[in-house]
């Protein structure tokens, strides 16, 4: 395999189905979807009508709270919503949970299991939803997965190439918080910090708090390095839930053509609104 070293990182290109002679929709319509590098086997991106919205951010940045609120808001506005996240695939979601629990897995295998989980959800959940015109709210995306691999010493080009067939999101929000704040929030939630959240596999520190802060700082730096190229919309995750939610609704409203974006959570979600 002498040509391996010559393999170049795939450049982002807009892409249509290569076989059927369809011309790529080179950014000419707001509904056009593009891949990061190359197209998914058997998918014509012109069939996709929905919107893909990604929320990135470390544990404790408020992602899941915001997604619950956004889903309610979008449904009240009459949009069909699908969600996705890490380890939620039918194919390997539970297997990854087991691997993590047993802590008997090498970094590369784990990265590839997460990639399998990602593509299973992309092909069986995200793409069908986008075909039907739904809004997909993704609780993290390839960016977190790439960052986790890179901080563990996996080659960056390798990981980017791995996710070449991921769809480019329409909007990518990054809820940015300081690791110290995230630690406090996570600890309050479960009265504990998990092995993986603290990056304990990386032997950064025997001190749980410092391990968490160092690990999350490393991940944060990686996300920072991806932010510009991937048009992240950075939001202050330390602001109040309602303030962050307002900014999210405004940008998503623009994307979807929703005029009035007034929203107050129902009683079921009122406890999240502080």
């Amino acid at each position: 395999m002498p040509d391996h070293e010559k393999d170049k990182l795939p450049q982002p290109v807009s892409s249509a189905a290569p076989e059927d002679g369809a011309k790529p929709a080179a950014g000419d319509s707001e509904a056009s979807h593009t891949f990061f590098g190359e197209s998914l086997v058997g998918l014509n991106p012109q069939e996709l009508n929905g919107s893909l919205i990604v929320i990135e951010g470390m544990d404790g940045s408020g992602r899941s709270t915001q997604i619950a609120l956004l889903q309610e808001w979008l449904e009240s506005e009459g949009f069909s919503v699908q969600t996705s996240g890490l380890r939620r695939s039918n194919l390997v979601g539970r297997d990854i949970d087991e691997l993590l629990a047993k802590n008997a897995v090498t970094r590369l295998t784990l990265a590839l299991m997460y990639a399998t989980d990602f593509f299973d959800q992309l092909e069986h959940r995200i793409v069908p939803a986008l075909r039907s015109g739904a809004v997909v709210l993704a609780d993290r995306f390839i960016f977190t997965l790439i960052a986790r691999g890179v901080v563990r010493g996996i080659n960056r080009d390798y990981l980017t190439g791995l996710y070449a067939m991921a769809l480019r999101p329409h909007l990518t929000f990054w809820l940015n918080v300081r690791p110290e704040t995230a630690f406090a929030r996570e600890f309050k939630k479960a009265q504990a910090i998990s092995y993986w959240e603290a990056g304990r596999d990386m032997s950064l520190s025997h001190d749980l708090y410092w391990s968490f802060v160092r690990y999350q700082t490393m991940i944060k730096r990686e996300l920072e390095s991806m932010a510009k190229k991937n048009a992240f919309i950075e939001l202050d995750g330390e602001a109040s839930v309602s303030a962050v939610n307002k900014q999210l609704r405004q940008r998503i409203g623009e994307q979807l053509g929703i005029r009035a974006s007034k929203y107050t959570p129902s009683s079921a979600l009122a406890h999240l609104w502080r």
């Binding site: 391996h4 190359e38 058997g42 297997d95 590369l108 295998t109 299973d120 691999g149 996996i154």
Partner: protein, 254 residues
């Protein structure tokens, strides 16, 4: 007494670089470790497993330090693969990724450490199986090449080539029923499994043939008698690999 030291210090290969540690996601050249890797590839029914078994027996009987590894053998992803196949959840991409995860586990936990520990590693199928089969399913060559970039480059890759009809007949006569993915039914080539299997195998064969030059395959004729093929294989191994290095250390040597 001092000979133990010399045995450790003696450079296994003139250009072996001891400082090169495996980098996940980067190609591993065969001189980065002292061991040697011998791989057999070919379509189902090409006779490769029989031949590798005989090669292994020859080396075992000679007392050489070796390890044998098979494609798709780690318990790690077995449950996921089984579930995916039973429920037909696998797409060309996830099929490929699951096998890559499985291979990565074997690579990081067995193949690389053993190569670094100066073993002769014999692999029944290697990354070229994925290149041929997953490309036949429609995955892009560029993506596949990147996916397996972390794999050490074999010292010898034997490619057992048998005409399509011979290979297909060997499989069809030996198996009562072809499995869904094995027959390539997910590609929608034919409703009949034997027919789909033939079409799928033809594509795989085409992909293998493309790699003969790019990946330095040693092509062997799978239709030759078993013992003749084995003789060829042993001659090639003996000429290309310094087998003495993997032999047990006898008192006379020391």
């Amino acid at each position: 007494m001092e000979n133990q030291d010399t045995a450790v210090k003696a450079p296994p290969r003139p250009d072996a670089s001891k400082t090169t540690l495996p980098q996940p996601g980067r190609p591993v050249p065969s001189r980065a470790y002292p061991g040697a890797l011998i791989v057999v590839e070919g379509t189902d029914g090409s006779g490769k497993s029989t031949q590798l078994y005989l090669l292994k027996r020859w080396l075992e009987i000679g007392g050489y330090r070796l390890h044998f590894t098979e494609w798709n053998s780690s318990p790690l992803v077995k449950s996921a693969t089984r579930r995916g196949k039973q429920k037909r959840l696998l797409t060309p991409t996830t099929f490929s990724l699951l096998h890559a995860a499985d291979f990565a586990d074997r690579c990081e936990r067995q193949i690389m450490p053993l190569l670094q520990g100066d073993y002769l590693v014999l692999a029944d199928r290697y990354i070229y199986t994925a290149f041929a089969r997953d490309a036949a399913r429609g995955c892009s060559h560029r993506w596949l090449r990147n996916l397996y970039r972390f794999a050490p480059v074999p010292d010898i890759t034997f490619y057992f080539r048998a005409p399509l009809e011979v290979a297909v007949d060997r499989i069809l006569s030996g198996r009562p029923k072809l499995k869904y993915y094995e027959a390539g039914m997910d590609l929608g080539l034919s409703y009949e499994r034997p027919e789909s299997f033939k079409l799928f195998q033809a594509r795989i064969l085409e992909e293998y043939d493309k790699m003969v030059d790019t990946d330095n395959f040693v092509v062997l004729d799978g239709t030759l008698p078993v013992n003749k093929l084995q003789k060829q294989m042993r001659d090639i191994v003996a000429s290309k690999i310094d087998l003495k290095r993997f032999a047990p250390r006898t008192p006379e040597q020391e």
